[in-house]
Point group: C2
């Protein structure tokens, strides 16, 4: 995952055979294995140990992530933890193939130079300062969010290629020039999208799921309006604060962007009018965007829509089949994210997250409801280290946490909504927590260390916003 | 599929937008759609029309095969014929991932130059004439066949990389030099493997399935020995004749191979002793081969074994993750074969092949059993145009054909075995009929036209061998 969709992106291969990079994950896995299995079958506990080893190896990086995950998938089958059919199941996952499509889309937008053109326009309009650029990306996301229920389509399919083009227009590529502009913009895109996802019932897949679960468990009805109103104030605070924090933690070294603005205008003139391929690309991009935005009125999945777009690009020969096959980022994401989503899914099937939820719930069983709910939110957030999907996380843990909060006397709407918001926000911490993560991270502007550090700080920021500001606002609107 | 695992292979992109290439498949699909649906739901019949369009487009090639199949998969979902989950299911198929592994293996064997070394030794030993080379490949396959139940592992994983290296050692690459040697060797490898697969109960997956179905349907027990004895004479005749026919239809233009033999000896001297990566590759190759050969004594699937080998190559850094991602042939096969196997699988689920089997069986219901059985074998063979898997074909059609043959008085063992042999031989006709096909075809030495033409001639050859010679031999050994 050290490269992008740019064929010529610098690749920093880790050549040294550092023994500790292998030893540490294996020790962690061994330690997990030796813990008391608390009633779980050895196979289930073995999965947990393997998952811990894998996540640890994703951090120590004895090999690139794709290779690490491929090793884990192979081990999961050879150790008898997962059948060969199940081991391969992640490679047929709908989100994984949407990610593949997003990479191919980005390639089309880059190759036709449409992205460059949009980037120059964006820089001319919003490029006065890097921060303004960051905010304009988040605002564009916010504008689409109420009617795009796939955060992967929105952040990965639409905004990622444009952000990539903007970064490149500033001469910022993965590697030494990443910190110039790209790292800041990419991280802002990703983290901003999580806030935006939390703000509307229809902005991402786990939200309607949470609403449905709340209805089933306690008859708690969460309307679209109630969700949006409850998210309004903490959401706006987060939208303002998150780009600032990213700006602080990974500051763009290019501060004076005015020369870039002039250059952009000059380059636009040189580019001249749109060529045939560029126009086709824009048309296809618009069709896909419209179909994603109108998801409520048809039942084509975002993935099918993406492949309709890709089909149009292939038929019109804007993209060549060779271009598709050469898009390493797509195949890399297929392998590592597909494998990881399988491992996390099997962990969920084995009932481990649910058991963790129940055990955590037991711990807070004697606390006042507000303290218990706050503690549950913290646990809910950090347990996302073990998930590769927002929906899987909400499915596994929301019911237990929600039920316990109710049992302790928490107001149902308050409990459902606060857990609902964190169902998106929790993806802040890793590079595999939700669909856009492999895409934006895969562009290669941030190292995994940077990604995780900034993510962890932002998780604290979110707790600092959504607990005090959120609870205050929810008092004002009468949720408790 | 115009390239191989050689990074520098010549790619002949079809640039011209030939309208007829689109129109013909769409007309064929439309015609199928307009046929009476004979009681099938529109969705099932639509799948049939889509499948016909796809196969037709694979022949007319408006776009490369991968793109054609991707369009069909997209259409299958957007037309409401297949759910999005089902549409992606082929990408988690165990055989598809074994094919991916075979491509990566071939890359390792090429990159380390182990293949070159084995090729020079092979040429020195058997390279007196192209025909002798062809026969030596088939013999190597035969030697492994009794104990390697995956024809994909055998022909695709083991023999393909060696054959590829031999072809290259003769200066034969895809493109203008393909006919020099590579086309003949590749086609011989593939077609020889089908004969070999038919010869032992344990040589390929459909064989034990046929044995099990025969037992379930009529209590007909097929022992390993009975299978091998019944296949012996027609099998040997076919093993002798098939390479000759391929030699005739796609003659290697390099006739005098003695200079190549001298060159091979010289090159071996220049290569010197094996390097570290080459030795590791040989060790891993041997481990994988041993595990494939010992499949009866452990329960690791051939795919898991292949990925164990790949894992070892990655851990020892013989293969780099970048090499894996750059292996376009693997990703191409994943998309086109994965998509095709899904379409064919859905067709099977919709019950169309079974209905075809029943209808065909009805047609021969008044014939003497031997004529009916011969007719059923012909139908069984050519209906494989609609299948991307030997197992799927046997599952869908063997029971009906076997039952009808029995009903007409055919001796049970004769009927079961003859249908059993054709359960492998039927893959002669297409480049997607069984696992090794996408691999060997994907090397790019033969055009699809050549592949299909030679395949069709060989299907006639097989009928001419297995019906008269087979029936005579089966009389001798008392099967009827």
């Amino acid at each position: 995952m050290q490269y992008t969709s740019v064929p010529a992106a610098p690749v920093t291969a880790i050549r040294a055979f550092d023994r500790w990079r292998w030893v540490v994950p294996l020790l962690v896995g061994g330690a997990v294995w030796l813990l008391p299995h608390s009633g779980f079958a050895p196979g289930s506990w073995g999965l947990l140990a393997l998952f811990a080893t894998t996540v640890c190896a994703l951090i120590t990086r004895p090999l690139p992530s794709g290779a690490v995950v491929l090793l884990s998938v192979t081990a999961s089958n050879l150790l008898g933890l997962v059948s060969i059919q199940d081991a391969l199941s992640g490679f047929a996952n709908v989100t994984v193939w949407l990610i593949v499509a997003a990479f191919l889309f980005a390639r089309g937008i880059t190759q036709t130079r449409l992205g460059e053109r949009i980037a120059y326009h964006t820089i001319g309009r919003f490029g006065g300062t890097p921060l303004r650029l960051g905010y304009s990306i988040v605002l564009a996301d916010l504008a689409m969010a109420p009617i795009t229920p796939s955060n992967t389509a929105r952040a990965g399919g639409v905004l990622f290629p444009i952000t990539l083009s903007v970064a490149r227009a500033f001469g910022s590529e993965p590697g030494p020039t990443a910190s110039r502009m790209g790292a800041f913009l990419m991280k802002t895109l990703y983290q901003g999208d999580l806030v935006v996802s939390a703000m509307f019932l229809t902005a991402t897949a786990p939200n309607p799921l949470v609403a449905e679960l709340a209805r089933q468990i306690a008859g708690t009805e969460l309307s679209w309006t109630m969700w949006a109103v409850a998210a309004l104030v903490p959401g706006i605070v987060a939208l303002i604060v998150v780009p600032l924090v990213v700006y602080r933690l990974c500051p763009p070294t290019l501060r004076d962007t005015r020369p870039a603005q002039q250059l952009a205008a000059e380059r636009l003139r040189v580019m001249g009018p749109m060529g045939r391929n560029e126009r086709v690309m824009l048309m296809v991009f618009s069709v896909v965007l419209l179909l994603w935005l109108s998801a409520a009125w048809h039942d084509a999945s975002p993935t099918a829509v993406a492949y309709l777009g890709l089909a149009l690009l292939l038929v019109t020969r804007v993209l060549d089949w060779q271009d598709v096959l050469a898009e390493k980022g797509a195949w890399d994401a297929l392998v590592w994210f597909g494998g990881l989503i399988m491992l996390a899914g099997q962990l969920g099937k084995a009932g481990l997250p649910k058991a963790f939820a129940t055990a955590s719930a037991g711990l807070v069983g004697a606390w006042p409801w507000w303290a218990a709910l706050a503690a549950l939110l913290v646990l809910y957030l950090y347990s996302h280290y073990a998930f590769a999907s927002l929906v899987a996380h909400a499915t596994a843990m929301f019911p237990a946490f929600f039920a316990v909060a109710l049992g302790l006397g928490a107001p149902p709407h308050l409990a459902a909504l606060s857990l609902g918001f964190f169902s998106s926000l929790n993806a802040a911490i890793t590079h595999y927590g939700t669909g856009p993560a492999p895409i934006v991270f895969g562009a290669g502007y941030l190292t995994q260390g940077q990604w995780w550090r900034i993510g962890f700080v932002l998780s604290l920021v979110h707790l600092a916003i959504w607990l005090p500001v959120g609870f205050a606002w929810w008092k004002v609107i009468g949720l408790w």
